[in-house]
Amino acid sequence: MFINYRYKQYKILAAAIVSLLLMNSATVHAHARWIIASHSNLSGKIPHTINVDMSISNELFQPHYGFVMRDKAKKNSRVTPAQLQMLNPDASMETNLEFNFLTLKSVAAVELKQSGTFHLSLQQDPVYFVNYQKPDNSKGRAFGKKGQAKLPDNVSDVVGIRYLPTLDTFVSRNKMTKPVSFSIGLELLAESHPNDLFVGESARFQLQLNGKPVDKAVSIDVVEGNTRYRNERKTQKITTDKNGWFEIKWQVAGMYLIETEFDMPSKEVGIDIDKYSLFTTLEVNPI
């Protein structure tokens, strides 16, 4: 009886350790979200208009839930406010670009006048939530700041988190120039060019946080779109080196989502962790 009890205890402990390890190694917690441009490369004399689709959706790239422009989002409504920004090739920035909420997705029509590479980014407002542990050792999550979020009784390990997602993509018109960085949140710096990706080739990127290379190994998820038309998600897991560099070998042509997260102690009062996340869409061409 006693032995059996001890055995059960060990079993619970082992399960707890395993689940804890899994929690740590699984980098991506939140729903996938993406910004996708109708064109990655354009040429022509007359300024181009592109369409930009934005959605929170795990199915790539079919929409599930759209964003609302920050100015138009009513307080305390259940919409997701965000701001669309674009860095022009000459480093000038266009902020608060107009887009429409179409329930499942949001769509913008953006005019590209200059020649070179444009960097588009959807900056979502920070999401506050609290992670905690219940008395039965299971994990719980509540939205809101620490102190405001409604938590059950007798919880422990209460961690206040500020979630800071960045969704971005690149479009080149008439020539490919070095993309300008927003230097806010997570970003990818391409060794070659984010609009010059071809099947059978490899591309190297550096993960940057607030304009500087990350200083530790980070896990990156690479997923090709068309997830609806295959039975396996086929997520490629890649770990960066200590300076944030990693390499992707493109196996098939298509639109890809690159996802990653990075935790930092928060400077905001009452918040423990800033959880930065990045969702970059990249197009890979056939040879």
């Binding site: 490369n41 040429s43 022509g44 008439n174 020539k175 056939p286 040879i287």
Partner: protein, 175 residues
């Protein structure tokens, strides 16, 4: 007397023009470094759009050297020639750009100069040919060639282009 002078001028003029034509045709012959025969198939499709075609040179390290020919006069569609566009998108190509062509056989002659009329050195290069047709397919060919050597290459036909024949010539060879 006046008549004689006139005839004298005429003789001189004829002699000069003969001499010039012989001389110039000789230099043209000598200067051809590459002859690329392209054969656009007559495809039984409706609607048929004439294909865009790009021919260009790269080093063996796949660095762009020069565009030899581009059949796509509207900049709007240049990016559809994806392999060419990534290498030569910001290159000046006015001198080698022309309209799209009907199905048939064409000879592209290259004299060995880039767009700025600089001589391209003899040696080994990749000759690239890309063809793309609206509502149609896209083919890409790459052949290692030896510039400055008399050689012949034949590239197997694909859906958008029949067999391609490439002739490279020795410098100053009067072929």
């Amino acid at each position: 007397m006046k008549k004689f002078i006139y005839y004298k001028f005429k003789i001189v003029f004829v002699l000069l023009s003969c001499f010039y034509s012989v001389f110039s045709s000789a230099t043209t012959q000598e200067a051809i470094k590459l002859n690329i025969e392209i054969n656009l198939p007559d495809l039984a499709v409706t609607p048929y759009h004439r294909p865009y075609v790009a021919v260009w040179l790269e080093t063996l390290q796949r660095e762009h050297v020069t565009t030899i020919s581009l059949w796509a006069d509207d900049l709007e569609w240049h990016k559809d020639l994806r392999q060419w566009w990534r290498k030569a998108g910001d290159e000046k190509i006015d001198g080698v750009t022309g309209a799209t062509r009907r199905p048939g056989k064409y000879q592209i002659k290259w004299m060995g100069f880039d767009e700025k009329q600089r001589v391209i050195e003899d040696g080994e290069y990749y000759l690239n040919i890309e063809v793309v047709r609206e509502e149609g397919g896209r083919n890409y060919f790459r052949q290692k060639i030896s510039l400055g050597q008399r050689q012949q290459y034949e590239l197997k036909s694909k859906t958008e282009l029949h067999t391609i024949k490439i002739n490279s010539y020795v410098k100053n060879n009067k072929e």
